[in-house]
């Protein structure tokens, strides 16, 4: 309202101020002019009367004729404003008087002759006009030399005329003039004020309406509109405000819609898996908590399944993430279609799924889970021109009033799933608290910590195993594989099979590989320093994780740049699974290392999804045939054929073949027969500490 009053006040001020200023100035000018004029005219009149009266009274004074003077004064006194008029002789004797008057001055004789005198009093003016002799020439010529002539030159003053003028009429008329002018000023100011108020109201009413509307809009009432009252500037303003409000409202509606959509999406995303559309771990945990609560409080029975896809990793690694995602999506759709209404299927991450079967006995749950498993088993995943079979391992745990927390339930289900995997995959394992497999799994879980501790306490060791030529020739070079060993806390050796799976599963491999490489390089350096005549090729295993790790690669390159002489002494063994999953990266790595003269071997060939196509693209020097084929080669002709085939292809591709797991001389004999280039195994050389290598 303050602003509104401000505008109104300003409009009124604008209209009234000039009027007031002009009015006051005019009034002042008018009054002062009028007062001056009145006073001036009074004085002029008085002076004129006195001036005329003085010569007229000359004769009366000169002759001492009081009657003449009295008549003269009576005639003069008729004039308005005259209070009194009197005639005095030059010595102050009053000859005649009409009206009242004090007449001090002529009596005191203080008036110098020669002019009209004015004595001012607040309410009256007193004029004294000198009466002088009128000179009349009587001699034709001036008789300057006549002695008595001088007497005629005496003072010409013979008396005074006193005139007292009342100023009351003037003062009254001044007062009237001021009052009249003030009245006119006040009236004109009032009219101006009224007009200004009227005009101001016309201006302000729409402005107030606008202000109200704008503040309402500002408060968020976007449906508020101002009434259209005019066409001029205010009308334009009103239209503008209405348009703005409409526009704002439309924008807000749109924005709100978008916000609602985004919120819904966020809410959905917060509780759902983006890829499959299934609910996510967080949402699942909440539902699980609710189910657990109902089980605890109402004694209901539910079942929780932890499901892990078999072979997902292989598909993901060989066909890429897109294939893995597609597999997950298709499986999700498949499983979703099999759900009962009250069942909850969630994707917990990666290839892990969880299924909550509410109000379901364990028997029923096993049935349902088996249905799922068999559905997955039947399912064939087609990617480009290839078809994959997938399995599913399921860990199940019952939810009843004895259950612990939701987290412990999930953990138990996970553990059960692991056991199912461990037992050969594609099966269901029901969690029981006294489960031996579970206990082992949990024991393995402890490996992670044990590996870290072993690293810290420097309890890792390297052993070496000779890779000999099958024909027994030694030549001018030797070929050894360096193997990782861990000393247990009690001093016994721990074989890699015990801790490598845990290390792979929990991403400790790059750390272990780094340690192995450091040690290898140190060993190589020592070997070089010992200046043996025989060239030695040190083969070390590199995991897929390390191959993909740029930090690992940088460190390795830095070492080689510092010691380029070591390059030709190093051979990296990589598994076909690791190589195939990251063919481009691995080939880059191979190229970089070959610059330093390093060589490569493809390890465990034939154990996984061995593909000769990939073999073509991998620039390796050695092909190590998996022990699984070699082990029974003497008895099993198929294995022998496999080895022969692999060997032949390897040779065709210019690779040298190495047979692992040579446990007997018979095996060696067969391999010699086939023509495999190198053999490795306990029958050839038992692993021993690296110290013996350099000594």
């Amino acid at each position: 309202m303050a602003a509104a009053w401000g505008i109104r006040g300003r409009v009124i001020g604008l209209a009234v101020m000039p009027v007031a200023i002009v009015g006051v100035l005019l009034l002042f000018q008018l009054i002062s002019g009028k007062i001056d004029d009145l006073d001036q005219s009074l004085r002029m009149r008085a002076i004129a009367i006195a001036r005329q009266l003085a010569p007229a009274a000359e004769y009366g004074v000169a002759s001492g004729n009081i009657t003449v003077l009295q008549t003269l004064l009576e005639k003069a006194a008729i004039e308005p404003d005259i209070r009194g008029v009197a005639v005095f002789t030059d010595v102050g004797q009053r000859l005649a008087q009409v009206g009242s008057g004090t007449w001090d001055e002529p009596i005191q004789g203080t008036l110098p002759p020669g002019r009209i005198h004015l004595v001012e009093y607040p309410s009256r003016l007193v004029y004294y006009a000198p009466i002088t002799r009128t000179e009349v020439v009587v001699d034709d010529y001036l008789m300057v030399d006549i002695p008595a002539a001088e007497t005629g030159k005496r003072t010409r003053l013979i008396g005074w005329v006193g005139l007292e003028i009342s100023r009351s009429a003037t003062i009254q008329s001044q007062r009237d003039a001021i009052l009249r002018s003030l009245g006119i000023l006040l009236a004109s100011l009032s009219i101006s004020l009224y007009l200004a108020w009227r005009i101001g109201r016309q201006i302000i009413r729409p402005i107030l309406a606008l202000t109200h509307t704008v503040s309402r809009i500002g408060e968020g009432h976007l449906d508020e509109r101002v009434e259209q009252t005019g066409q001029a500037e205010l009308g334009m303003l009103q239209r503008g405000v209405n348009h703005m409000a409409a526009h704002l409202q439309a924008m807000q509606d749109q924005m709100q819609e978008k916000i609602d959509l985004a919120t819904a999406r966020l809410v959905y995303q917060a509780s759902h898996d983006a890829l499959t559309g299934l609910i996510n771990r967080r949402e699942f945990e909440q539902r699980l908590a609710r189910a657990l609560q109902s089980a605890m409080q109402q004694g209901r029975e539910h079942a929780l399944c932890y499901m892990d896809l078999d072979q997902f990793k292989v598909i993901n690694d060989t066909c890429g993430h897109a294939a893995g995602d597609e597999l997950l999506l298709q499986l999700s759709l498949l499983l979703k279609s099999k759900l009962r209404e009250r069942d909850t299927l969630a994707r917990l991450g990666g290839d892990e799924f969880a299924l909550l079967l509410e109000n379901c006995s364990i028997q029923d749950a096993l049935e349902v889970a088996d249905t799922f498993r068999s559905e997955v088993q039947r399912f064939r995943f087609k990617w480009e021109d290839r078809i994959f079979a997938v399995g599913m391992s399921v860990g199940m745990v019952a939810i009843n009033h004895e259950s612990g927390t939701a987290a412990s339930l999930l953990s138990a289900a996970d553990a059960a799933c692991y056991v199912a995997k461990d037992r050969g995959r594609n099966q269901i394992h029901l969690y029981e608290s006294r489960d031996i497999d579970l206990a082992r799994h949990r024991g393995e879980m402890q490996w992670v910590e044990r590996i870290h501790r072993a690293l810290e306490e420097n309890r890792l060791r390297l052993s070496w195993q000779e890779i000999s030529r099958t024909n027994g020739e030694t030549g001018d070079s030797r070929h050894v594989e360096l193997l990782l060993r861990m000393k247990a806390e009690d001093g016994t050796d721990v074989l890699p099979m015990a801790f490598i799976p845990a290390a792979e599963r929990y991403s400790i491999m790059p750390t272990l590989d780094s340690w192995v490489i450091e040690e290898t390089l140190r060993l190589c350096k020592r070997y070089l320093e010992s200046k043996r005549a025989q060239h030695c090729l040190f083969a070390v295993n590199l995991s897929g994780a390390s191959l993909k790790d740029p930090g690992f690669r940088r460190k390795l390159l830095a070492h080689l740049e510092d010691n380029p002489a070591m390059g030709p002494h190093l051979c990296f063994e990589i598994t076909e699974t690791a190589a195939i999953g990251n063919l481009g990266v691995v080939n880059e790595f191979i190229d970089a290392m070959r610059e330093f003269g390093c060589s490569f071997a493809l390890d465990d060939f034939g154990s996984g999804l061995s593909s000769f196509t990939y073999l073509k693209h991998l620039k390796v020097d050695f092909l190590k045939i998996d022990g699984a084929f070699v082990r029974d080669i003497v008895k099993n002709p198929i294995d022998r054929s496999m080895v022969e085939a692999i060997h032949r292809i390897g040779h065709q591709m210019g690779l040298q073949t190495v047979a692992e797991y040579v446990e007997s001389d018979q095996i060696r004999a067969v391999l010699l027969e086939i023509g495999v280039d190198f053999v490795q195994g306990n029958a050839v050389h038992c692993p021993e500490s690296v110290e013996s290598l350099c000594d």
Binding site: E58, Y59, A62, S63, G64, R133, T134, E135, V136, V137, V138, D139, D140, Y141, L142, M143, V144, D145, I146, P147, A148, A149, E150, T151, G152, R154, R156
Partner: protein, 315 residues
């Protein structure tokens, strides 16, 4: 036809006069004399007198030297056979000089001359002196009143104490015309009105006598107005008085006095010993009438020329 004795006498007189003139004209150069005119100052009336004298004396072949009171010495007048003193101051100065040259005083009031001037000039009879008065003779004035205002029986006069003696002289002149005189004396305290009103009350006409204590520039207005109120005409002694309100005035101009003086001088110089006539009033005069005043007061007067003629005025 015989020639009458009167005709023969006339012829003889003419011949004798002609001879006299011839003799005079022949002897004039050898008898040229100097006349000194001493003036009170160089103002117009004195100059008028001098001019009148000079013109006449030039014609008569006399030398006229002009002097002013300021710077006049006894030696200045040594050569002069006659001194004309114009004005009271000139007379007073000349009287102090040791020179015995005869002096003619002109433009002097009669009252002053008879009281002081004559005695001072004659220096105990050692100097021959005479005067032409400024004032008109009372007889002439009385005659004028008689001719102009036949109805007037009593003439009023205001006199200062000094001129009190004049009253008898005037009364005598008026009596000759059968007119009475009413006179009042004006005292020094300048209270004119009372004696004036007293005089006007009792008389039919106010005769103005030159007297600065009575008629002056400052008193004239009141005197005229008062007499007007009494409807008494005023007879003045100057043209200015007629203009100011006097009904009729009689006076002699300086030129007229100068003319008379010249005639006296020529006459006096004709004698081996300069002999001046006795002092006297002017013989030449003028009369002026204010017709407006006459109309206002309801008087009907003869014309100015008529009056002058009847008064014996000479042109």
């Amino acid at each position: 036809m015989t020639v009458g004795p009167s005709l023969a006498r006339t012829i003889l007189r003419v011949i004798a006069g002609w001879l006299f003139i011839c003799l005079m004209g022949a002897s004039a150069p050898s008898r040229a004399v100097q006349v000194a005119v001493v003036m009170s100052d160089n103002s117009a009336p004195y100059q008028e007198v001098y001019q009148a004298i000079r013109v006449s004396l030039d014609d008569a072949g006399h030398e006229v030297h002009r002097f002013y009171v300021d710077g006049l010495t006894s030696a200045s007048l040594n050569e002069a056979r006659l001194v004309v003193a114009v004005g009271v101051r000139a007379v007073d100065l000349v009287a102090t000089l040791p020179s015995r040259t005869p002096v003619l005083a002109v433009l002097v009031p009669k009252a002053w001359y008879t009281k002081f001037g004559r005695a001072r000039l004659s220096d105990g009879g050692r100097r021959s002196v005479s005067a032409i008065y400024l004032d008109q003779p009372f007889d002439r004035q009385a005659k004028l009143i008689s001719m102009a205002f036949p109805e007037v029986r009593r003439v009023g006069v205001l006199l200062s104490a000094d001129q009190k003696s004049v009253a008898d002289e005037l009364e005598e002149s008026l009596r000759a015309q059968r007119i009475g005189l009413v006179h009042a004396t004006v005292t020094e305290d300048d209270r004119l009105m009372m004696p004036l009103e007293q005089v006007l009350n009792e008389s039919d006409l106010l005769l103005a006598i030159p007297d600065p204590l009575v008629f002056s520039r400052s008193t004239a207005q009141s005197l005229f107005l008062t007499s007007y109120r009494y409807r008494d005409p005023v007879v003045g002694y100057s043209r200015s008085m007629s203009r100011a309100g006097a009904l009729v005035s009689i006076y002699s101009t300086p030129a007229q006095i100068g003319r008379q003086a010249a005639e006296w001088i020529v006459s006096a110089l004709n004698h081996p010993a300069v002999r001046l006539p006795s002092p006297g009033h002017p013989v030449y005069f003028e009369v002026t009438i204010n017709d407006q005043v006459a109309r206002s007061l309801g008087f009907s007067l003869p014309s100015e020329a008529e009056l002058e003629k009847r008064l014996g005025g000479r042109r």
